[in-house]
Amino acid sequence: MTIDLKTVKHISKLARISLEEKKAEKLADDMNSIFEFIEKLNELKTENIEPLTSIAETTLRFREDKITSDNIREKILKNSPEKNDDFFVVPKVVE
């Protein structure tokens, strides 16, 4: 299997990372060599194997739905690249 330039561009759209043409070509090469290495898994028959989804053999705990942090609005907003009063600002999304 080879990953072509078109696929790389499609994946970069899904991953929301813009790519220059030259970098996309390099990335296609890198991904192909990595997948060549990954293909080794096809040697194994795994039809009847249960997938291991979590190493910690515990069921997730429930907790009460209550607020535990103090009022940290200011601190949170301090990290925002752009804000207006108590809101995060993003480019316009509705016409």
Binding site: D30, I38, S54
Partner: protein, 485 residues
């Protein structure tokens, strides 16, 4: 008297408790040495002023019942520290100042530790040489232009150079054990679920674990005792009875069964690694251990499995960096445009590569072929260990397939870089505890490490074996301070 900075953590605590050294004197010594060691590029953010201030406050009101009384400690910059910039080695978090503290670092401060600074690491802990950091390469104090390993490369460098008495790293595929091996230091990855992941910048959540890095095994046990705790804030934290690792530390390992997995004898492994392993087996026998040949048949599938599971989880975890609530933002006409430019400018090459791989293996039509397949093979790898542990108490392997390499030597070939983690990755996939201890040197006099892998939650046995082998090996780092200004 020996310099304060070259004391072990145990000795430093003893001196502070006996009032032979004050916390402030200790802080001054580490700050001073760190100031003169800028060439190593071990720090991303210094907390020196604060550290000196807090050490004075400790001396004014000392509490010697604490486990780390007034001890200055620098930590990997993957741990969120309240009001202190936390970058994860990435441009996208260049200006991020957390409003909360990771549980592991909080545990250290609760026991009297004082933050010295934040240490360089591979970007989002993705790398084996610290070369993917936005903040530049880190020098290995062992020799100039040698990588310190990764991803906890700033941690291993600072530790080996005596800029901090102990440190903490994180280990997703070897990121504590490999840099420890490259710098002649000790690094332990605990059982998955031992140390809370709360407040650690996430890479691959089913694999990430924090752990101690130290100059010797005793120090490692002291720090593990502090950081290992059950935490409700981490949904995969496990509530089990933790040992008093340092007081239960013993060199009596007579009759302990140690397995030697034949599959770790990989093609092209240098003779010096093979010889180191043989020597390690002899040391273990000298300590009274029984050596048993075992088989972990799916070992060679661990790396390909890891390079599906880790990028898949990373692509999901790193989706949060969108330039909206925190971190870098690049301007764009539309919202989507802004996302794409921000992530393109904010992430480095290796991180992009892994996000792309992860996005691909999770994308429609490929999930079963890659991600599900990898989870099934992960089950087989875990079963290998389960079966081996019916026969043995622990497993001995080399830590890495080579010693530290030169900066730039492997940075253009991702697959050859990934091979560094061949002996450490299976341990993360199976969620087991593993330690790397310095065990010898190669022809260039660069350190080489041996890895001891334990049963789940059996850190104590791992530490005890390491503690007794350490005494027989009697390794000493021979570091000349070539970088000092």
């Amino acid at each position: 008297m020996t310099e304060i900075t070259s004391l072990s953590l145990f000795e430093l605590i003893k001196n502070i408790k006996e009032k032979k050294i004050s916390s402030n004197e200790a802080a001054k010594s580490f700050v001073d040495r760190s100031e003169k060691s800028k060439k190593l590029n071990a720090y991303v953010t210094e907390n020196f002023e604060n550290c000196l201030q807090l050490s004075k406050e400790f001396d004014n009101k000392p509490n010697f019942d604490l486990k780390l009384p007034g001890i200055p400690i620098a930590v990997k910059d993957l741990f969120c520290t309240n009001e202190v910039r936390t970058t994860a080695g990435s441009n996208i978090l260049n200006n991020f100042v957390p409003s909360y503290e990771s549980t592991v670092t909080q545990n250290i401060w609760n026991e009297g530790g004082i933050l010295l600074g934040k240490l360089n690491c591979d970007e989002f802990a993705m790398g084996s040489s610290n070369e993917t950091s936005f903040f530049g390469n880190v020098q290995n104090p062992i020799a100039k232009d040698l990588v310190p390993g990764g991803s906890s490369g700033g941690s291993s460098s600072a530790l080996a150079a005596n800029l901090t008495p102990v440190t903490i790293g994180t280990d997703t595929g070897g990121s504590i054990r490999q840099p420890a091996s490259f710098t002649g230091t000790v690094g332990l990855k605990p059982t998955y679920g031992s140390c809370s992941r709360y407040g650690i910048v996430a890479f691959a959540s089913s694999l990430d674990q924090a752990g101690p890095m130290s100059k010797d095994v005793k120090d490692c046990s002291i720090l593990l005792e502090v950081i290992s705790s059950f935490d409700k804030k981490d949904s995969t934290s496990i509530d089990f009875k933790r040992n008093n690792y340092s007081s239960e530390l013993t060199r009596n390992i007579k009759g302990i069964k140690i397995g030697i997995p034949k599959e770790y004898r990989v093609d092209g492994m240098p003779d010096e690694i093979e010889n180191l392993w043989k020597k390690g087996i002899e040391y273990a026998k000298d300590c009274g251990a029984e050596i048993i040949d075992i088989s972990l048949p799916h070992t060679s599938y661990a790396l390909p499995t890891y390079y599906i599971v880790a990028p898949a989880e990373a692509s999901s975890n790193l989706a949060r960096y969108d330039g909206v609530k925190y971190g870098l933002r690049s301007s764009g006409e539309t919202l989507i445009d802004m996302y794409e430019k921000t992530r393109s400018d904010g992430f480095g090459e290796e991180v992009k590569r892994r996000i792309m791989i992860g996005t691909y293996v999770l994308s429609s039509g490929y999930y079963d072929a890659y991600y599900l397949k990898a989870q099934k093979v992960r089950q087989l790898i875990k079963q290998d260990f389960d079966q081996a542990y019916n026969k043995v108490d622990a497993i001995l392997t080399p830590s890495t397939p080579s010693s530290a390499f030169k900066i730039g030597e492997k940075s253009n070939d991702p697959v050859s870089m990934y091979l560094n983690d061949i002996f450490t990755v299976p341990v993360n996939l199976a969620g087991l505890p593993g330690i790397s201890i310095p065990a010898g040197t190669d022809k260039n006099n660069y350190p080489l490490g041996l890895q001891i892998i334990g049963k789940p939650f059996d850190e104590q046995t791992v530490l005890n074996i390491a503690y007794s082998m350490e005494e027989k090996i009697n390794y000493k780092n021979n570091i000349i301070d070539w970088w000092m200004e």
